[in-house]
């Protein structure tokens, strides 16, 4: 009786899943017809990886029946149990794999009901069948083969492409029966460019300049201008802060503050100086190991020391020393190589050809650091090994470090032991279960680590990563940059290029961009410009019913991207459009308004971050990237908008839409203050209601309002103004937002009414959306 119930439940679950998976596939996978060749990489491996490799894959310890389906030799070989072959090329009916994935017998079928992996759906079964019929040919995983620049695809509409990118995207559109959208309006484009290149709302002057001249030359000139602005570096650095899990505190228990911000200042300056990506990363991984390393190069290695550091009394030091290195390994593998290797900390990877030994060989690069589980805190805010930065240096060789204070600043950085600390494979990943000793090496599945070329230290690791044949480094970064502009990577799983990751939507484009990036000296500004100059980027984001139906997720880019902007950018848009933004770059992180009592309620009263005292003056109006991040209690207005908690390396943020976000836009003093200050400034200049509303709209929404919008806003203004006229004290209470000095002698009724209108504008969906 009970058994029967289980079978029914399993079947019901499987049916539900089948239904679900049929509906989920929207265009990412074609149903191949006729004799179209089936690709192992694109059609088959995703299925096998998801459904089979957990028990028949790279992990030797979990392998069932001695069978591997990830390598041809084992899959074609004679089965150890039973008769026959798992895969008999050409003959699905004689292949055990095919028989089992089509079986209805729960004791025989694969995946087993106990695995909870769910059965293959009809289209998946069809693909496997056809693949076996066609000879069941295996291929190297796409991401582990070096990228190659293919010829530009031939497209039907030759007029549309503006640069190489467009040939690849148009090719995919044509393949999927889609047409590109018209170019976005000028006002839409300038907002898009300004957000993407500087993270700020375009000023009125910039909007006008762009509007006036629609020539291609102006477009390019403005792109160049925006890329040359200092705010470009700030915008680019936000993404890198997530990769580098940057925070302003140690992140455990009492959570003291720390000074890693000089490193953040270096990152901003590096983007602005257009330091090539290979040098940018090499310095961060191994600046201290370069010959005659400069202080700037050593400072860059703070990248590896941004992880959390445990100051709790009574911890076991070795446990945490290991923990810090595991974190470094994760940051490098997922942030720079696009691989999730953590599984191999405890056992061979279940999906990717990365053994536990491979993992600890990668780990070994970081294991020779002078760090301890707990070490001396130096200068109050850094842990040895640390770098001192004197005032004199800040005025000369390290002039990008912004400090008003003249005392020496200490930053936690990397430094090597003189003699190599042996690295053990840790059984089950546990610090006190050391096994065999291994030496440092890059992941062999990715690319051979040739010890005649590369030293067995972090510098060698960097050299290995930036060898032009390394299949991942360029692809991964190009993809991260692409994601910044289109909201989604060409490989959607930005942090996982392994077998469980998503396949590239435009593989040839990804490779072309990666190779081109390398061929042009890892030039980041060039890559960015290439993207924004493309016709693909310039399309309107209008969603037609046809496109919604054919490509709801906009995988094929037949329209411009439209999505909610990230947390920091929301703050920056509010500050820049209201004119409150402080232009200061870098320096110690700042404390904007935050609801009272947050730090106070969660602290145990120890350390220097027990009380939150907001800054005053211009520090209240600094860009989001400078907001102080207490790692155990990150700023709520950021977290609610999906900012990273900086607990660990993150390469992709969610884009949720929640009621708490609405509450922030309605009630955050920062937004109210910006509304008030802008209103007062405009009223001080002119009492023309229509003109004031129109200008606020232009500044905040960055386009001309429609008639209907003007009507609504004027009506709202008038209704508020009449309320305040009746009760002037009410207007004063409304204007009581933020500490920024009031404009003298403004009409308070008008200012309060306009403030309400502006506050409503800030709450428009369009304002916090890139469109």
């Amino acid at each position: 009786m009970k058994k029967q119930y289980i079978v029914i439940a399993v079947l019901a679950g499987a049916v539900a899943f089948l239904v679900a998976s049929c509906f989920q596939k929207n265009g990412t996978q074609h149903i191949k017809s006729g004799n179209e060749p089936i690709s192992y990489n694109f059609d088959i491996r995703p299925i096998l990886s998801d459904k089979c490799f957990a028990c028949h894959g790279p992990d030797a310890k979990k392998r069932e029946a001695g069978l591997r389906l990830d390598v041809a030799e084992s899959a074609y070989g004679k089965l150890r149990e039973g008769k026959g072959f798992a895969i008999f090329p050409g003959k699905p009916e004689q292949s055990e794999v095919y028989k089992r994935i089509t079986s209805l017998d729960p004791t025989y079928q694969m995946p087993t009901p106990e695995s909870h992996l769910g059965l293959l759906n009809e289209s998946e079964v069809g693909l496997v069948k056809k693949w076996i019929e066609q000879g069941a040919r295996y291929e190297q995983h796409w991401a582990f083969a070096a990228p190659r620049k293919s010829a530009l695809p031939r497209v039907a509409d030759d007029n549309w492409p503006r640069n190489e990118i467009d040939y690849f995207t148009l090719d995919k559109m044509e393949e999927n029966d889609l047409e590109p959208s018209e170019e976005a309006s000028r006002e839409q484009l300038i907002k898009r460019l300004s957000l993407d290149l500087t993270g700020l709302a375009p000023s009125l002057a910039l909007q006008q300049k762009f509007e006036k001249d629609e020539s291609e030359k102006t477009y390019e000139k403005i792109v160049d201008e925006l890329i040359a602005r200092k705010s470009f570096g700030e915008k680019m650095a936000v993404q890198w802060m997530d990769v580098a899990r940057y925070g302003d505190s140690f992140g455990y228990q009492n959570d003291h503050s720390r000074t890693q911000w000089p490193w953040r200042d270096w990152v901003i300056s590096a983007f602005n100086k257009n330091v090539p990506y290979d040098r940018f990363v090499t310095w961060q991984l191994a600046g201290d190991l370069l010959p005659n390393a400069s202080k700037e190069q050593i400072l860059a290695t703070a990248f590896l020391r941004n992880h959390k550091y445990n100051e709790e009394a009574g911890i076991i030091l070795e446990e945490y020393r290991i923990e810090y290195n595991l974190d470094k390994t994760k940051t490098v593998s997922s942030g720079l190589l696009g691989l999730t290797v953590e599984c191999a900390q405890c056992h061979d990877h279940k999906y990717d050809p990365i053994s536990q030994e491979d993992y600890y060989r990668l780990f070994a690069f970081f294991n020779n650091s002078k760090e301890k589980g707990q070490a001396k805190i130096i200068g109050g805010t850094a842990v040895v090994p640390a770098l001192d930065i004197t005032d004199a240096e800040r005025k000369s060789i390290l002039n990008f470090v912004n400090s008003k204070d003249t005392s020496t600043i200490w930053v936690s950085v990397m430094s090597e032991n003189d003699t190599i600390r042996p690295t053990h494979i840790l059984s089950r990943g546990v610090y006190d279960a050391p096994g065999r000793i291994v030496t440092a090496s890059g992941l062999k599945a990715v690319m051979k680590f040739d010890t005649t070329l590369y030293p067995k230290n972090r510098l060698g690791l960097a050299k290995w990563m930036f060898n032009k044949n390394n299949p991942l480094t360029a692809r991964v970064y190009v993809n991260q940059v692409w994601q910044e502009f289109f909201g989604r990577g060409i490989v959607k799983s930005t942090g996982d290029f392994g077998m469980q990751g998503d396949l590239p939507s435009h593989p040839a484009l990804l490779d072309w961009l990666a190779v081109d990036f390398m061929e042009h000296g890892w030039n980041v500004k060039r890559l960015v410009k290439q993207i924004v100059m493309s016709a693909t980027y310039r399309q309107s984001s209008k969603l037609t019913p046809e496109k919604k139906e054919k490509d709801p997720e906009n995988i094929y880019l037949a329209r411009g991207a439209r999505y909610r902007i990230p947390a920091e950018m929301i703050r920056d848009v509010v500050l820049s459009s209201s004119g409150l933004l402080s232009p200061e770059i870098g320096g110690a992180s700042v404390r904007p308004y935050q609801p009272k009592g947050l730090w106070e309620n969660s602290t145990a009263g120890r350390g220097d971050l027990t009380k939150y005292v907001p800054d005053t003056g211009s520090n209240l109006y600094r860009r989001g990237i400078y907001t102080f991040i207490k790692v155990t209690l990150p700023p709520p207005a950021m977290i609610v908008f999906d900012a990273s908690s900086r607990d660990h390396c993150e390469v992709k943020r969610q884009k949720t839409n929640t009621p708490l976000q609405a509450l922030i836009m309605l009630n955050d003093p920062a937004v109210l203050e910006a509304s008030r200050v802008l209103a007062e400034r405009m009223i001080a200049k002119s009492a023309n209601v229509q003109a004031n509303i129109r200008e606020s709209f232009l500044r905040i929404v960055c386009r001309q309002p429609t008639e209907k919008e003007m009507e609504l806003l004027t009506e709202y203004y008038n209704s508020e103004a009449s309320t305040f006229t009746k009760d002037k004290k009410h207007a004063v209470r409304v204007l009581n937002a933020g500490e920024y000095p009031h404009e003298p002698k403004v009409n308070q009724v008008q200012a309060a009414a306009l403030m309400r209108v502006i506050n409503a504008l800030y709450n428009m969906e369009e304002v916090i959306t890139k469109s």
Binding site: Q24, Q253, A662, L663, L672, K708, H730, V734
Partner: protein, 494 residues
Amino acid sequence: MSAHHDEPFRLNTPDLADLNETLDRRAFFQRTASGLGALALGSLLGSAAQASPMSEEKLESIRRQVAPKAKRVVYLFMAGGPSQFETFDYKPKLASMLGKGLPDSVRGGQRLTGMSANQANLPIAPSLYKFDQYGKSRAWVSELLPYTAQVVDELCIVKSLFTEQINHDPAITFFQTGHQLPGRPSIGSWVSYGLGSENQNLPAFIVLVSKNASKDQPLYARLWGNGFLPSEHQGVQFRSGKDPVLFLNNPEGYDGTDREKMLDYLTQLNQVQNESWGDPEVNARISQYEMAFRMQTSVPEVMDTAGEPDEVFELYGPDSRDKGSYAANCLLARKLLEKDVRFVQLYHQGWDHHGSLPKGMVKQCKQVDQATAGLIVDLKRRGILEDTLVIWGGEFGRTVYSQGKLSAADYGRDHHPRCFTMWMAGAGVKPGFSYGQTDDFSYNIVKDPVHVHDVQATLLHLLGVDHEQLVYKYQGRRFRLTDVHGRVVNEILT
């Protein structure tokens, strides 16, 4: 303490019929009427922007795997690690062993924290407090918990909990997220993700932190964080005071009345946008503003306990009138549970007694005892204990030996991950039941060990969710609350 302090603990007495009359009848009907389905809520709270990797159909099928016993959970987390010796794990043989060294055979090479690793000897510290047996179940309870002793027949006491973590931060993170390192979703987030909400005006996962606790160890936002799950599954902290939910109200001094008018215009403005872009996100944003607006009314309403009869405050104890205290939070928790909030998480810090434990325990127990028992009684008489799971416990236990100076009247205890006690009550767990057994030193488990992941698996099971099936694929890997472990502790289930 009033002479009749135990009166409210007489369950099912005829007087209760009168009391039921005074309950908010509307609340009662709201509860019994079919709640807003998780699917409907999915469209309210879960936006279309980030399609959940598990389809609604799949989630639905997971929900149906096991018949749910619990509809909601209240987790009373005793942060810092309460000692089992002075609460539930009675060890009479220790009485005669004051100051004697812990036998090596008992210790068996267990690692020590850096705090007691350098101690010359490990002298045994018997509990200073007396134990007695209570209720029909004859369970042993210390004299520090007189109110809890009165409801002991409702409790399922597990004495054989163990964890792998020996320091606070990783241990509490492990308990609340299934992994010792930060970054994974918390239990409440998993529950919100898997089951959705049944209340359209309140978040599915609400967190309350006692303001009156000794803050010997900090708390971290990650304990109720959503990790890699969409942020709508984040625990929302309700705080006592003017701004119960962050940004719910206008900042101090600012007059934001007439908000409704602005929302009217805003909705119209956004609709203009919706017409020109055709992006469903615009509509989603409009609904979020509507929900935010509803929260501005529903949150203060639910947090206002002024309308509760005196008898209720007496039940939870005198602190319950002091907003933000543990007792007031217990009362508030009951109100939230009545509104079908899925997961209510309380934190009460102050249990980290490395020294002066006897004094510390008196204070801590006094702060939580009456209100905890009051909550059980209140839930029971309102008929919702049967489908509400109540959990009480900390992140690890404490050592039998004294840390630092030991005298007959004073001692401290270090962290002990190898065994500790927690209890559950309500939906689907055996009442008046005790499970697991430790040795005479409460140093090792001798019978029926229960791992942290087992507690998590059991919790999900009671909610009708198979812990092996509630997965979220993130960066190529399927993640679970219980990682690759966890066993439903069927032995404690009804």
